[in-house]
């Protein structure tokens, strides 16, 4: 009896103080670096380089944001537009290509289907480092250096395998009687796919969308290698370019960091449920 009560006490201790201190600790660790950058982005130039350093800006100002956004040397408005265009087109192309391929792999019998699935799994793990040199010479030969196409095509190399892998699972979970009855009613297979299967697979497609968008938005190595003109850089490549200037301007750089982070953070906050379901469904499947 007494051991039971001490167990209860221990559990209450775990559920009370330990839980709250633990939650506070991990949240501070996760948020701390962001809070520092938000604070730095709002500081004046004098305060950024003052000693001792301050944690809360004394005279908060948006000057860094204005400067970053309109700078002619590192035009962040242009970088932002580039990132938005490249990520959006990559996302739409990824959805179209992988819906079609994922559906085929879930429904039809192929010679070598298992091998194909393995290829999709293996290519997900491919390091982009590996593709840099051959893709560079390929895009150079095709005259695609400093174009959006080169970045979009290259991004597909990592978005499509993952998206196909994720969507196959979703399509397999939808009973095939559904589109078969539509096909008996005179619909073509493609029509049935568009009108019946795609709406049912919406959560999977949402997960694929956010994955494709966020990973293209974050992509760095392709964007720095396949562009040479400043105005063709994406946000990631632009930030690196900005940090590589003769002297790092932490104020404007912090503002640039916030501009690059906020869109994906907002998108993630709204769609995280779908992405997490999609990710973990794949993992649980093994």
């Amino acid at each position: 009896m007494s051991t039971h009560r001490s167990g209860d006490l221990f559990e209450r201790f775990l559920g009370g103080p330990v839980l709250w201190v633990g939650l506070l600790g991990i949240t501070l660790f996760a948020m701390g670096p962001f809070l520092w950058v938000v604070s730095a982005s709002l500081k004046t130039r004098a305060e950024l380089y003052a000693t001792p350093i301050t944690y809360i800006p004394t005279y908060p100002t948006f000057a860094n944001y204005v400067e970053t956004w309109t700078s002619t040397l590192t035009p962040f408005s242009r970088f932002f537009a580039n990132s938005l265009w490249v990520s959006s087109v990559t996302t739409v192309a990824t959805i179209v290509i992988s819906t079609s391929a994922g559906y085929a792999l879930a429904r039809f019998r192929f010679i070598g289907k298992n091998t194909l699935m393995l290829v999709f799994l293996a290519t997900q793990m491919f390091p982009s480092v590996l593709l840099i040199a051959p893709l560079l010479s390929q895009w150079y030969a095709l005259g695609l250096i400093d174009t959006y196409q080169a970045l979009i095509y290259s991004n597909l190399s990592f978005t499509v395998p993952f998206a196909v892998w994720m969507l196959v699972g979703y399509f397999e979970s939808i009973p095939h009687e559904l589109e078969e009855s539509a096909m008996i009613d005179g619909s073509s297979r493609f029509g049935a796919l568009i009108r019946i299967i795609v709406p049912l697979a919406a959560p999977g497609i949402a997960a694929t969308t956010i994955f494709a968008f966020v990973s293209s938005w974050s992509e760095l190595l392709f964007a720095t290698t396949f562009t040479s003109q400043t105005e063709m850089r994406t946000l990631s490549a632009g930030l690196l370019y900005m940090a590589g200037q003769y002297e790092v301007q932490w104020g404007t750089l912090s503002a640039g960091v916030m501009i690059s982070t906020i869109p994906v953070a907002v998108l993630f906050a709204f769609l995280q449920k779908h992405l997490i379901q999609g990710l973990t469904a794949g993992a649980m499947k093994g």
């Binding site: 221990f10 559990e11 775990l14 939650l23 991990i26 949240t27 660790f29 996760a30 948020m31 670096p33 962001f34 520092w36 950024l48 001792p52 179209v96 290509i97 079609s100 391929a101 085929a104 792999l105 039809f108 194909l116 393995l118 290829v119 799994l121 290519t123 793990m125 491919f126 390091p127 480092v129 590996l130 593709l131 040199a133 051959p134 010479s137 390929q138 095509y153 290259s154 597909l156 190399s157 297979r189 966020v214 938005w217 974050s218 760095l220 190595l221 930030l239 690196l240 960091v257 994906v264 953070a265 993630f268 906050a269 997490i276 379901q277 990710l279 973990t280 993992a283 649980m284 093994g286």
Partner: protein
């Protein structure tokens, strides 16, 4: 059904291709876009890499371009830096993934408890994983900055340090510093995976264990962990492969320096390609990266198959 109708009405003219062949071709058409896309951006580049690795190919010396067979690989065996980068990669993966796992598990257990504001705390704790890699690298570069960075400042205020340390440019500190950054970035991946696993455990399992008199620690070791095992294996294996190849953070923060202290094999490949423009040697390094990755993936598949048969 359709076939029946056709025979009753009239014998249809025999089409050029049989019905099954046509159907099969139509089925393959669904795969065509993905095949073209991966052929052009993955398969062909890889074949090209293998081919490039057999040539002496330094971009600014086109007159020296010639076939050298396995010459680039022979050079790699003797390249001390290459072996150093392999050891660095090993440390980078080992420390990053093990701490990501332990912290991710702890975070998942905490965030699985029911309390007010759980959704907001979960979102906040997942943020480090969603922001671009270059952002993570630059933010931490600022945190580590010797004169204006908060880490030195906090350590000095806590009287743990007298002289400011240049974390990213001292040989002994640089690798731990980038690993800590990578841990920070990777914890949420494990948190997400394990949290999903925890939510899939039916509450009855715990209730039964509690009725049987199992304490909270016993429940953790004998109920929670065994159920989570498959998801932990999958998450860890994926993470190992991924971390081995991950170049962005080091590329942004130290570019492999100081004196190759943080140079891992994937950043070394980038360096050879960008700085020396020796595409032949860079391609040979890429091929080795590819082989290591394929071995990892094969092990992973074998491993997870085992897990599946145990779990199911």
């Amino acid at each position: 059904m359709k076939e029946q109708e056709a025979t009753i009405v009239a014998p249809a003219p025999r089409p050029l291709l049989s019905r099954t062949t046509r159907e099969m071709l139509a089925n393959y058409a669904y795969l065509l876009p993905a095949a073209i896309c991966l052929g052009g951006t993955v398969l062909f580049p890889i074949l090209k890499t293998i081919n490039m690795s057999l040539y002496h190919n330094v971009l600014f010396r086109p007159q020296d371009y010639r076939f050298i067979g396995l010459g680039n690989y022979a050079r790699m065996v003797q390249d001390q830096t290459f072996w150093l980068t392999l050891r660095n990669s090993f440390a980078w993966v080992l420390w990053s993934v093990s701490f990501q796992f332990v912290c991710g598990l702890a975070a998942a257990l905490l965030l699985n408890a029911s309390f007010k504001g759980r959704v907001i705390l979960r979102t906040i704790n997942l943020l480090p994983w969603i922001v671009p890699g270059v952002v993570v690298g630059l933010v931490w570069e600022y945190l580590y900055q010797p004169n204006y960075g908060p880490i030195n400042d906090l350590l000095r205020r806590a009287a743990l340090m007298r002289e400011p340390a240049a974390w990213l440019s001292e040989i002994n500190f640089a690798m731990p510093a980038v690993i800590i950054t990578n841990i920070w970035r990777g914890i949420p991946f494990f948190t997400i995976m394990i949290l999903a696993g925890l939510q899939a455990i039916p509450i009855e399992v715990y209730e039964a264990a509690t009725v049987d008199g199992a304490s909270i620690t016993q429940r953790f070791w004998h109920v929670t962990l065994p159920i989570l095992r498959p998801i932990i294996v999958v998450a860890t294996a994926t993470r190992i492969i991924w971390t081995f190849n991950y170049a962005d953070l080091i590329f942004v923060m130290t570019n492999g320096g100081p004196a190759d202290a943080t140079q891992i094999t994937s950043t070394y490949t980038l360096l050879v390609a960008y700085a020396t423009l020796d595409f032949g040697y860079a391609a040979a390094l890429s091929v080795i990266l590819l082989v290591i990755m394929l071995v990892f993936t094969a092990l992973y598949l074998k491993f997870t198959k085992g897990v599946e048969s145990v779990a199911g």
